[in-house]
Symmetry: C2
C-alpha cells in the first residue's frame, strides 16, 4: 500500500487561511500584528530565508518591519536596535536571523530579545517554560512537526517516537514537547554517539530524522508500518538539474517510503510548516500584548 504523503505545503496553506482571519480580527480590534525581522550582512541564504518570512507574514496580514543592517554593525548598534523594538508596543514579534557576522555575540542577542516577543522561542526563559511543560511559544520546527501529525490524525499518545538528532532547534525541544503530559509519547533521543542505532530506530512507531546528513536513514532502519518525519533539507549535486543540485532530506525516500504508512516529502514537508508556525507565534504574541493578563 502506498504511504500517505504528509504535505506541509498543502497544510501550511490551510493554516495560513486561519491565521489570516486571526490577523484580521486582531487588526479590527486595534492590535494589528507586527513582526520585526533583523538581518545583518548579505549572506544570500539568510536573505532568502528572511524574504520568505516577510512574504509569508504579508500573505496573512501580519505587518513586517525589516531591519537590514550592514555586516559591519557593532554589537552595541545591534543591541540598541533590539532594545528599541522591545520598547515599541506596536511590535509583537522580533527575530534576528542567524548566523550573525563573525565577531558578534549571538547568545547576548538571544537573551536581549523580550521573551514576550521571542517568536522563535530561543530565549532561555522560553526554552525553560517549554522544558517545564508550560510553553508560552512553541519553537517553530518542532511545532510544525507536531501540527503536521495532529492535523493528519496521527496519534502520538503512547507511541514510541525515536528522534535522530539532539539540536536545540529541533531534536531536543521536540523531545520535550512530545513527552509532555497530554501529548504522552514515549521518546528516545539518538545522536552520533548512539550505539546499535538501527535496533532503536526499528522500534520506532514514529521516526523523526533531524541529523542534517543527506539520505542517511535507509529502509532497513525502519519498522514496517512506521510514520517517518524528515526534518532535513540538504542540497546534493545533481548534474541533471539546471541549478546543478537537488534538495533531499535526511531520509532515503526511495527505500524508506515503501515501508511506511505515512511520510513527509522533501521539499514540501516540514519546511513550509516552520514559517507558518512563526506566523502563528506572532499572532499569539499580538494577542497576548492586547490582553496583558495573558502574559
Amino acid at each position: 500500500m502506498e504511504p500517505r504523503i504528509l504535505s506541509g505545503k498543502v497544510l501550511s496553506g490551510e493554516i495560513e487561511q486561519e491565521l489570516r482571519r486571526d490577523a484580521a480580527a486582531l487588526t479590527a480590534g486595534g492590535t494589528p500584528p507586527c513582526l520585526a525581522v533583523i538581518l545583518l550582512g548579505d549572506n544570500p541564504a539568510s536573505h532568502t530565508y528572511v524574504r520568505n518570512k516577510i512574504k509569508a507574514a504579508e500573505r496573512v496580514g501580519i505587518a513586517s518591519r525589516d531591519r537590514f543592517m550592514p555586516a559591519t554593525t557593532s554589537q552595541a548598534e545591534l543591541e540598541a536596535e533590539i532594545s528599541a523594538l522591545n520598547a515599541d508596543p506596536a511590535v509583537h514579534g522580533i527575530l534576528c536571523q542567524m548566523p550573525l557576522p563573525e565577531g558578534l555575540n549571538a547568545e547576548r542577542v538571544t537573551r536581549l530579545i523580550d521573551p514576550a516577543k521571542d517568536v522563535d522561542c530561543f530565549h532561555p526563559f522560553n526554552v525553560g517554560l517549554l522544558a517545564m511543560g508550560i510553553p508560552r511559544f512553541y519553537p517553530c520546527t518542532p511545532a510544525g512537526v507536531l501540527e503536521l501529525m495532529s492535523r493528519n490524525g496521527i496519534e502520538v499518545s503512547g507511541q514510541h517516537v525515536v528522534i535522530l538528532g539532539r539540536s536545540n532547534i529541533t531534536g531536543r525541544p521536540l523531545s520535550l514537547l512530545l513527552s509532555h503530559k497530554g501529548t504522552d509519547a514515549t521518546v528516545t533521543v539518538c545522536h552520533s554517539r548512539t550505539r546499535e542505532l538501527a535496533t532503536l530506530t526499528r522500534q520506532a512507531d514514529i521516526l523523526v530524522a533531524a541529523t542534517g546528513i543527506p539520505q542517511w536513514v535507509t529502509g532497513e532502519m525502519v519498522k514496517e508500518g512506521a510514520v517517518v518525519i524528515d526534518v532535513g533539507i540538504n542540497r546534493i549535486d545533481d548534474a541533471s538539474r539546471k541549478q546543478g543540485y537537488r534538495l533531499v532530506g535526511d531520509v532515503d525516500y526511495a527505500t524508506v517510503a515503501p515501508k511506511t504508512t505515512a511520510i513527509t516529502p522533501v521539499p514540501g514537508g516540514v519546511g513550509p510548516m516552520t514559517i507558518t508556525m512563526l506566523l502563528r507565534n506572532t499572532i499569539q504574541a499580538a494577542r497576548m500584548a492586547g490582553d496583558s493578563s495573558a502574559i
Copy 2:
C-alpha cells in the same frame, strides 16, 4: 556476583570534604558563602528537610539564613522577603521550600528568585540554559545521580539510559543532562502512558526509577548486568518497625539487585547526594558572585 552498592551516604561525605575546603577558600577570599532558606508554615516534613539542609550547610562552612514565616504570610510579604534576599550581596543562594501553604503562587515565587541565586535550578531561565546544554546550575537530584555514577566509574557515554518518570524535578532535567554533548547517553523517557514498558526497560544499560511508586520496578523488568539508580523514597507500613513504617525506593530491591552490576540503596543512595549538590550550587553561586565576569 554481588552488585556494587552505590552509596550516596559515603560519597556525599567525601564531597562535603571538598566543599568544606572550597567554602574555607571563599571565606578567606572575602566571600563567605551564604544560603538563605525560606520556609512557610509548620509542615513537619518540610521542617525536617529544611533542618537537614541547614545542618549540611553548616557542616561545610556555608552560612545559612533561615526565614521561617507563618502559614498566614501573604504573597506580597513572601515576595518582599525574596526581593530583599535578591538584593543582599551577602546572600548567594536562595531556596524557598515547597510546597507553599494553599493560596500562594509558587510559580511567581520561582520566577522572582534571582536566577544567579537559584541554587535549586527551578527558575525557567536556568531550566532553559540546562535544556540548551549550557547549564549554570545543575538541578540537585539529577546532579546527584550523575555524580553518583561518574565518581563510581560508571560510564554513561553511548549507554542506553531508560528513565522512568518525567517530573520537572528529576526525570526531565536528568534526560536533558544525560543526552548533552560530552555526556552522550542515549536516553528514553518512559511514563504512565508508555506501552510495552518492560520491553524498553529490559534494553536499558542504565535504568533510573523516578516514579514515586513503591517497589514498582521488579527483577523481570531489568536486563542482566544493568546499572539501576533508584530515586524514589517512599514510606510503606511495617509493623515490625518501631516507627510503624520503613523507607523503600521505586525499585523492588530484592528481585532487582541480583540482576545488576551496580545499584543504589534506599535510603542512603540518591537521597544524601541531593543536599550535597545543593551545597555545591551554593558554593558555585558564591564563586560567581565573587567573580562578576562569570555571570
